[in-house]
Each structure stands twice: as structure tokens, then as C-alpha cells.
Amino acid sequence: MSQSTEPVIQIRNLSKIYRDFWGRKKVEAVKSLSLDVKPGEIFGLLGPNGSGKTTTMKMLLGLLFPSSGDIKVLGKPAHDVEKNERIGYLPEESYLYRFLNAEETLDFYGRLFKMSPQQRRQRRDELIEMVGIKHARKRQLKEYSKGMTRRIGLAQALINDPELVLLDEPTSGLDPLGTRDMKDLISRVREQGKTVVMCSHLLADVQDVCDRIAILYNGELKVLGDVSELLKEQEETELLTSKLSPEALKDVQAVLDKHKVKLHKAGQPSSSLEELFLRTVQTSKERPGRRIVQEDLKSGTGVS
């Protein structure tokens, strides 16, 4: 996934300090963050609550102004309006007009793009179908449940068939089916060669779909890299098979013994990203102000 094309998102030394009305400092939500998102990848932004994920995303969209640092999105500065033509954004909570119904909502957002009425209608129907709220297309959003609002929010983010999709906790509030649909959808978007940046707390999902991740802690970048790389244990090998019977397991053990290989663990696979995440947070608490390297995680007092 390391094509040598220009990054879709380029963040350099980005900081954000929230100030109150009098200009006094309240929180330093993002601290000198630098990262690139490459075209065509699915990038996961992780971190505990309040670590600055949403703040970062809002700065990418020009909703918040950086206190310092530089942002380039699709080669344009964050405040540039034209770039939004090619971006889709699903906010943390769906901030939509509650007096509109699903069709009107999509039509309204469609009108903000360079789309002809037919295109708009077609896209609207497609998306309503896709996010599965066809039965409620004529109902006002104020009657929607949380998950339904989430779905229409997603539809809204995709109305312009964007090249870059920013999803802030896309699966929050969705039922398991919806979650799976969302993952499918993200994969489909990737297949179309689009770039996705997402925040999520569901690490298993992130692990499934993301190519690269960054873990923020307290506004600082702690971990950045390919998921497969990050989770690869150099000294171990993983075999994943269909369920083994105890006899088969014994046979495998015998083979391993023959090669003098030690079996570390046998059982259902666990989501190792979760481990990585927990360890990162733990290490960050113990040693504040340091970027974490692989060795730290391994030798550190990992939580497992």
C-alpha cells in the first residue's frame, strides 16, 4: 500500500488549543500532529475518548481552525471550499435538519453539489436503498431512531460520490447487521479506489478494514503504521485453521515438538489490535510525552 503518489491528506505539526471567550487556554486537544494519508487506503484514527480524533477531523474540514500547523487535503488548504466537492463527511452525531424527511435531506445536500436534478434523484434513491431506510423515506428525521439517523447520515456523506470519505465513528448506534453493512460498504468504497479516514472504538472492525492506523493519546500521536506490520510479531507465526479437534491439536503439537517449536497459545483467535490499543494507552500513561516504538510495546508492561 505504499504507492509513491501525493498524499490525500497531509498534516504537519498540527496543534489545536481550545480557548474560551477571553482567549484563555482550556484544552490542548491536538499536539503537533504530523501524518499522511495515502490515496486508496483506509486509515483508522484511534484513541481513547477525548484524545483529539474528532478535533483532527474537524480541522481537516475547516470546521475548526488549527492553532498552528499546516493541513493539505486533496492538495488544498483546509479552508478551501472547492475541495469539499470531492469529500464526504459523516459527523460524530448526525447533525441533520430534523424537520426534513430522508428524501428531502438527500435532495438538499445534493443541491449543494454540482449535480443535475436527475443525477440527484437517482443518487438519492440508490443511497436510500443502500443504507436500508427505504421504508422510512418519507418520514421526518425527528421520528428516526438513532441507528436510522446514522444511516441517513452516512447516505448524506456519500451523496456526491466522494473521493475522500471521513467517517467519525461510523458504526456507533448501528445494529450488528448495520455494522456489517458498514464494513462491507467501506470495503466497497476502497475497491473503487477511494480513500477513507475513520475513527472508531470497535477495534475488531478497524482491524478488519483498515490498512493503516494512528493511535492518539491526549492529542499526541503514539502509534502510526500498517495494521499488518504493527500486529506482526516478528518472533511468532500464526496459523489460522478451521476448528481443530483435540486429537488434531495433539498431532499438531507433535509436529511442532519435532521442529522444536514452542506453542504459545492455542484457542480462538483474539483481536490483537485490541491488545495493541490497550498496551499503547497503558504505556502512554506511564511514559507521557513519548512516541511509542514497537520495542516499547513488547517489552513494556503490556496489559494482556
Binding site: R19, E82, K83, S94, R111
Partner: protein, 563 residues
Amino acid sequence: MSFDAPNFDFLMSLGIFALVMLGFFVLVIGLSMLGSFMTYGTGGFGVVMQNFQRALIDFFSISPKRIGAIADLTIKESIRKKTLLVFVIFAILFMFAGWFIGGTTDRPDLQVRVLVSFVLKTISWLVLIVIPLLACWGLPTDIKIRSLHTVITKPVRRNEVYLGRLLGYSAVGTGVLAIMGLVGYIWIVRQTPTAAQKELISRVPVYGLMNFTDRFGREGTGINVGYEWDFRSYIEGGTKSKTIYLFDGLSSDSLKSNYSARKAKYDKALQANAESAPPEPGVLNLEYNFEAFRAYKGTLDKRLSARLILVNPDDEKVRVPLPVFEVKEFSRFNEEKLIAVPEEITYRDEESQQLKTANLFTDIMPKGNLKVEVECLDPGQYLGMARPDLFIRMPDKYFATSYFKSIFGIWLQLTLMIMLAVTASCFVKGPVATLLTFSLVLVGMTPLSTMMFQMLQGQIEGGGPAEAIYRMWAHMNPSVEIQAGAFSYFLKIIDGIALGFLAVAFFIVPGFVNFRMVEYTANGFDVPWMSSLLPAIAITLGYVIPCLVIGYCSLTLREMEAK
């Protein structure tokens, strides 16, 4: 109510507008320079230029389609949030109003006045409160529930958000006003009793300039008969005291066509019903509205008599006295106060006492100028008048003309208020925006301007506020000079600053006083262009650019998140 509004001085207003705009832009640019120098140091200039460039791009690439989408959204929002309940209030008011304001049938003119002003005032109160309130709360709510966030992650420029909102609320207001205006019109026409229907007109007056001569015939001022409010000045009966009205720019053609139109109407009415026909029209129709002041009772049931003399101002030897008439000050119908002058006038010459005839157009007003002298003939009695109390009545227009011009006046005020409201709501929250908008309206409505003007020009004795306070405290008469020295200098500086603020306020608070057109319509006059509609339009237009700039800047410079 005085209809004596001066004509609108377009050039002067344009000059003031240009000055204020210059000041405004200097202020905007100065402040942004200062701000960015403080934040970015020496790089500030570049930042300002960059932002300026951005603003220019934003202004030149606005898209009607996106503005339309946001306006549409605003309309939907207003409708779905039950704004239109205002119609229910309107309907209820009108259903029951008939009970309370019927019944004055013995004064049809008054009845029409009450009906018309009731309708127009109800409409303006309802519309001018509900819609601006809506506009004050729209954007702040949009920001608060963060629905605007999602919008501006689309390729929408902030000025499009501003314009969309503005247009949306204007459209809602226009719709509401149009429906109410129409319903109100039908209601007035149906509620007016048949006897008073002919009072539903819009008269078109041409006013002249007014001068007085005193009892010896010398140039002077009129007499104040002791009323506190000296709107009218009085002339003394049986003396050489006169009021002189000077009209100019009269065209004989328009007077003649006026006459033929009236005559045709009159003939028709005569044929239909000889009794209720209006008085026969003249080529020149003068309408008066004099007020008698009796110094002694005299014969109570006898009215004061007066006389008009037509004079050619370019050849004062041509003096044509018209027949003596009784001043019908309490007449029920306007048309009873009409003095019809035919084209050929037979009169008795004042000097030679011979009967002569004069042609109105060739002898009296060949150059379109006309002088009318008013005399009171009862010795010892007084006749009072103001400039608008004698006018030449041009062809009447339909009542609807004046009525809908008034509605248009309300619409202009509505538009301006929405503009102020949307602008205010770009940088403050709902309650503050409401307060700001309505205080501007209140200040703008107060006809303080004359006093403010005098104060600004230092014509008011006793100095500015600081000096006045000092004088009060020191029990000092306004005409006593304060000893020159450091202290008086200090007072002057304070007052200078205060007056400076006052001057700024005077020039930037919209002159809502100019939007009052209801009185014209209610009193059966047409709403004049030059002294009423045009200034209102100019004022409204004048606020477009500054409001847009302020709204755009506050939306752009504002972090949506920081609430």
C-alpha cells in the same frame, strides 16, 4: 400627522452613504489589520491580503443554485416549525375586529381611516415581529444543533449561507405579507359602508411653499394662537394678513387631462344619480384643510368665510379673486373642501371694480407657476393653516394604489429588519440578536433626528451631556458661560466624544421613521414617491452591502465549534 415630509435629497443621501461606507470599510480593514498584526506579527499583512483574496473569490463565485437550496430549506423550516400560526392570530383578530370598530357611520371619513389604519397596523405588527424573530433565531439554532456544520462541509460558501437565509426569510415574509395584505384589502372594502365607499381613494396632492404677511400686509410669520404645538399658523380676519402659497412646475396639459377625466366621471355620476353626485370638478382643484380659531363667539352656526386670490407670480398685476367660501372645517367628506376653478374665470377686479374674465392658463399661470393668497374675511377671527393644508389635487388614484404602496412600505421595513436580524445572528446568539435588531428598530423609529441634528451642530444651548450634567449639579443656567479653563476644556472633550458616538449612531441606525406610510393611506392620500417610497427603498438598499460584509466576515471568521 403631518404630510409635510420634505422631498428626498437623493444626491446628499448618496454622499452621506458613500462617506459612511468609506468609514465602514476603513474600519473593517483597519480592525482586521490590527487583529492579524497582533496574532501573526509582521506576517499579518500577508494574512489579511490572503483573506481579502479569499473573500473576493467567495463573492465572485457564489452559486444561485446553492443559495436557492438554503433559501428553500429556510422556507421549509419556517413552515414546518409552525410559523404560519401567525395567520391564525390574524384571522381571529379580523373576525372580531368588526365588532369593535364598526359603528361610527355618522363620520364615514373617520370610519374609513380607522378601518384602514387598523388593517395596516395589525399587518405590520404581526409581520414585523414574527418574521424578524424567526430570522434572529434561525442561524444560531442551526449552529447550536450543528446542522450548519454538515452544510459547510459541502462546497458551500459562507456568504451563500448568509444570502440563502436572507432570501428564505424574505420569501416567507413576502408570502405572509402578500396574503395578509390581500385579505386585509378585501376586508376593508367589504367593511366600509356604502356611504363611505367614496372615501376609499388616494388623493394625489401637489404642495406649494408657504409664506405669511402680517396685518399690515408686510412680510411676516403667521400668528401663534397659543397652542403648544404650533403646527398651524394663523392669519387674522379682516386685515391684510394673508397666507401665500407658491406652486411651481404645474403643467397645463396634465391639469387639462385631469379635468377631462374628472368631468367624464362626474357626468356619469350625474346621469346615474343627480343627488349623490360629487361637486362639479374644475380645471384646477384646490383642496383646503384650514382650522378656524374664534377669538369671540360671533354667530355660532355661521362658519368663517374666506377667500382665495389667484395671482400670477411672474406678473403680480394679474390678481383674480375667487368667490368667497365658507370654511367647512368639520366636513364629513373631503370633496366638500374642494374649490373648483374653471379655465375661464369671471371676477370683479379689485381696483377698477369691473367684471373681467381671465384664462387660468394664459393669464394666471402661463409659466406653470401659481400664487394663491388666502384671506380670512371675518374681522377678529383667525384662520389657521400649515403648508400641507392647501394643495392642488391631481387626478385621484385608486385606493388600492395607496394601500399596496403601504404594504410595499411594510415589506421594505420587513426586508431591512430581516437583513439586520440575519446579520446579527451571524455573530451573536438568538436572544442577543433579537435585542439588537429590535433596539435598532426602536431607535430608528424615534424621530429624534431634528434634536440630534441640532445637538450635533452645537445649536442646543448648554452643551452636550457632560456639560449639561455639570450645569445641573452646579445649578447653572444654560446661558451662563462656564469659566474657560482646564475643567471646561475637559467637559468639551467628553462631550466631543459623546457627540461623536451620537453622530456615528445617527448615521448608521436605519431611519425606520421613513417607512411610515400607513398614515398617508389611512387619510386618503397616495403614498408619495419622492418623500416616502424612494427614501425607504434607498435606505433598504443602503444596508445590503454592509450587512452582507458583516455577515460574511462573522460567519467566516467564526469557528463553528466555538459556541
